[in-house]
Amino acid sequence: MLERIVENWLDSASERSYQNVFCQMLIAQGYTILHNTRHSPLEMGKDVIARDPQGQLVAYQLKGNPGNRLTLRQYRDIQNQIIQLVTQPVSHPNVQNEVHHSYLVTNGEIDEEAQLAIAQQTEGFRQSGYTEPDVRTISRGQMLTWANELGQSLWPSELSDINTLLELLIYDGKDFFPIDKADSLFKNLLNLSNSDDITNPEIIRRISSCAILTGIILKNFYKEENHFAIFSCWLLYYSYVISTTEKHNLTGRIIDETLDISKSEAIGSLIDLAKEVISRDHLVEGNAMADTLFYSARTTLLTGLLSVLWFHIEASGNILNELKIEIEKFIKMPPNNHMNLWGEGAVPQWLAYYWYIRRKSATMVPDVLLGQLLSKIVNRNSSNIEDDFFPTPYYSIEDIVGHQLFILNGSKGVDPLKDGNPGLASYMSEGLLHLLCRSLHKQTCKAIWPNFTRLGHTSFLPGSKWEYCLWRSESGREVMVQPELTKTWDQLCYEARDATGAGIPDRFLNDPIMLLLFLIVFPHRATPSAIRYLGYKLNKCWFIQPPITN
C-alpha cells in the first residue's frame, strides 16, 4: 500500500512540489547539492546543480508531467532550455571551468517521439563538438524506484502510523497544516519517541526518508498553493531533523545539506506567500462571512511572517530586492489597525514585527509598542477574572474562536479553552520585560512591575535539549517562577543581559531567522531565554551593560 501511496504522489506532483524531494533523494545517494533554484532566476536551464558521489558535476532541469507523458510538442517548447542546460557552463562559486553532465528530469514518462528528439539533439551537440553532449533523462520509473528505496521502505509500518499517513494524504489542503498529526509520524520515523537501537547511518537514511515523506504528505497543500501550510510542514521537518541530530550527536555534509534544502523550501514558501499577499487587494480568504472572526489574526500572522522574511532578504544580499521593497510597503508603522493580540500565542508574531520596525525606525515608537504589549498581557492576566485572560501559547486563534462559539451555543459541545485559564500566570511577560529593560525604558518597567509581580512566570523546560524542537515533549517540567516583590533595576538589568540562549540547540542558535520562524509556529517554545537571545541577535539597540553570551 505504501508503494501505491508513493506512486499516487508522483503521479500528481507538480514540478515545484517534487523538486525538494528530488534533491533529498540525490542527497541520500551521496550527491552534494550546490544549487537549487526556487526563487532565483533560472540558472541558464539548470534547476538543480550537484556533484555526484565521485565528484562529477551534474546539472538537472526539472519538468512536471504528473500522471502524463512528456510529449514531442512539450519537448520542442523547452528545447531552448535544453540547449542552455547542455551548452552553457555552470556558473557557481564552487565550480571552475568544469564540464558537467546534463539531465532532463520528469515525473511522467517520455513519449517515444520525444525520446527520439532527445537522441537527435544529443547527436547534434556531439557533432558540434561539445565535450558532454548527452542529454540524459530521469523519468517516472527511476523516480519511483528511488522514492521507494529511499523513502517508503524506511517508513514506519505500524498501523497507527499508516492511518495517520492516510489522514494526512486526504487532509483538506486549504486548512492549516496539522502539526499534531505529523508529530507522531515524524517522531516514530526519526526514532524520537522511542529508544530503539539504531545506527547513525540508519538514522541518516531515515532523515532522507522523512524528507520524502514530507513532500508526499504535502500533496494536497501544494495543490491548493497553501503556502503557509507548506512552510509550516517544512519547518516542522527542519526542527525535527535538528532534534534528531541533537539527540544522536550527528554532524556532517548530509545533515547540513538536508537542513539547507528544507530551509530553502520553507523560505521559498514564505516568498510565495509574500508575493501573493502583495498582489492582493484584500486579505480575506475562503468563506468571507465567517472570515471576520479570523481576519485580524491572519493580518497579524502575515505581518509577523513578512517581517521575518524581510530580515532573511536583508541578510541574503540584493537578491529579491524588489520583494523587500514591497514588504516594506505592506508592513506599517504604527501597526495596521487590523493587527490583534489574540493570545500569548501571537506574541512571537508581534515580536517579529517589533524587531522589524525597530530596525527601520530610530524613534521610540517601537519600544512604546513593546511596552503596550507587555502592559496588556500583565494587566489582563493579573486581574484574575475567570473568563478574561490571554490564553497561553498552547492555544491557537481557532481555540479562542471555538470557545466563543461554545458560549454562544449555550455551552453545548466541546469548549477548546476548557481548563485553559492558568490563573495568575504568563508565559511571555518575563521575556518582554527583559527586552524593554535593554531599551532602558525604566519608567515603563517600574509602572508595569507591581502587576508583573502578581503573575507566576511560566515556561516549559524539556528534559533534554533535543526535545526543545518537538511539538510536545514527554519529559520535562513546566516551571512557574514567582518573582520577588521588590527588585532593583540593576538586578533586572543583569537578568536582561542574558543572551546565552540556554536550552536551545546550537543549530537554531546559529540561525536566528529560522529560530524566530520556529517560534511563530511553535509559540509555546518562546521561553524567556529564546526571546532574550533573539532580541540580542535582531535588535541592535542595547543600552545596558553588555550581553552575557556564555
Binding site: 490563573g423 525604566k442 516549559f460 528534559g463 521588590t486 532593583t488
Partner: protein
C-alpha cells in the same frame, strides 16, 4: 462487522462524558471549585518561590474502572449507565481528593506552616489565621481562606466560629489578627517596586 451508527453514538458518548464530569465534580467536594488547568507536556510541574526554593509536583494518574458486559447491553437503561458512571466518577474523585490533600499537607509541612495537636477550638482557629497570608481586594475586603474539615466536625466548627463573634476577648483578638493581616497586605503591596 455488523451495521453501526458511529457518528450519532459518538455524540451520545459525548453526553456520557459530560455526565461523568458532572459526577466527578459532585464527588470532589470543595476541591471541584478550584480552577483546573491543562498541562500539555512533561512529567511534572514546579513553582520556584521568590526566595529561590523550588516545589516540585509530580503528576499523579487518577483512573477508575467502568465495567460493561456484552450481555448487559440489551437491557442497559440510562439510569443504569448513570449509576455506573457515578460509581466510576466517585472512585476517581476519591483519588484526586486524596492526592490533593496529600500534596497540600506536604507543602505546608515543608514550609513549616502547620499547627498540629489538640481539639478544634476558636483559639486554635485564631492560631492558624495568624500563620497564613491573607490578601485584600481594592475595596478592602479580605479574601478569606476556605476551611476544609470532615463533615463530622461541621457543627463544632460553626460553634467555635460563633465564639469568635460573641466572646469579647476572642472578638478583639480576631480584629487584631485581621488588622495585622491588612497591614501586612499593605506592606506587601507597597513592596511591589522596581527600585533604583
Amino acid at each position: 462487522m455488523l451495521p453501526d451508527y458511529v457518528k450519532t453514538k459518538s455524540e451520545v458518548q459525548g453526553l456520557y462524558n459530560d455526565l461523568f464530569e458532572h459526577y466527578l465534580k459532585k464527588h470532589s467536594g470543595p476541591i471541584s471549585e478550584i480552577r483546573s488547568y491543562k498541562v500539555f507536556e512533561g512529567e511534572n510541574t514546579s513553582i520556584i518561590r521568590p526566595e529561590g526554593h523550588e516545589d516540585i509536583t509530580q503528576m499523579q494518574s487518577a483512573s477508575s474502572t467502568f465495567e460493561l458486559k456484552y450481555d448487559e447491553v440489551p437491557s442497559l437503561t440510562l439510569e443504569k449507565i448513570a449509576y455506573k458512571l457515578e460509581s466510576a466518577a466517585k472512585e476517581m474523585a476519591d483519588q484526586q481528593v486524596q492526592h490533593f490533600y496529600e500534596t497540600i499537607s506536604k507543602a505546608v509541612e515543608s514550609a513549616g506552616n502547620t499547627v498540629s495537636g489538640g481539639p478544634l477550638t476558636a483559639e486554635r482557629i485564631l492560631e492558624v489565621m495568624e500563620t497564613i497570608q491573607i490578601d485584600f481586594d481594592k475595596n478592602g475586603q479580605a479574601t478569606l481562606p476556605q476551611i476544609h474539615i470532615g463533615p463530622e466536625q461541621e457543627d463544632l466548627l460553626k460553634r467555635e466560629f460563633s465564639r469568635l463573634e460573641t466572646e469579647p476577648d476572642l472578638k478583639d483578638r480576631w480584629t487584631q489578627v485581621m488588622f495585622q493581616h491588612r497591614e501586612n497586605w499593605r506592606a506587601r503591596e507597597n513592596s511591589r517596586k522596581l527600585v533604583g
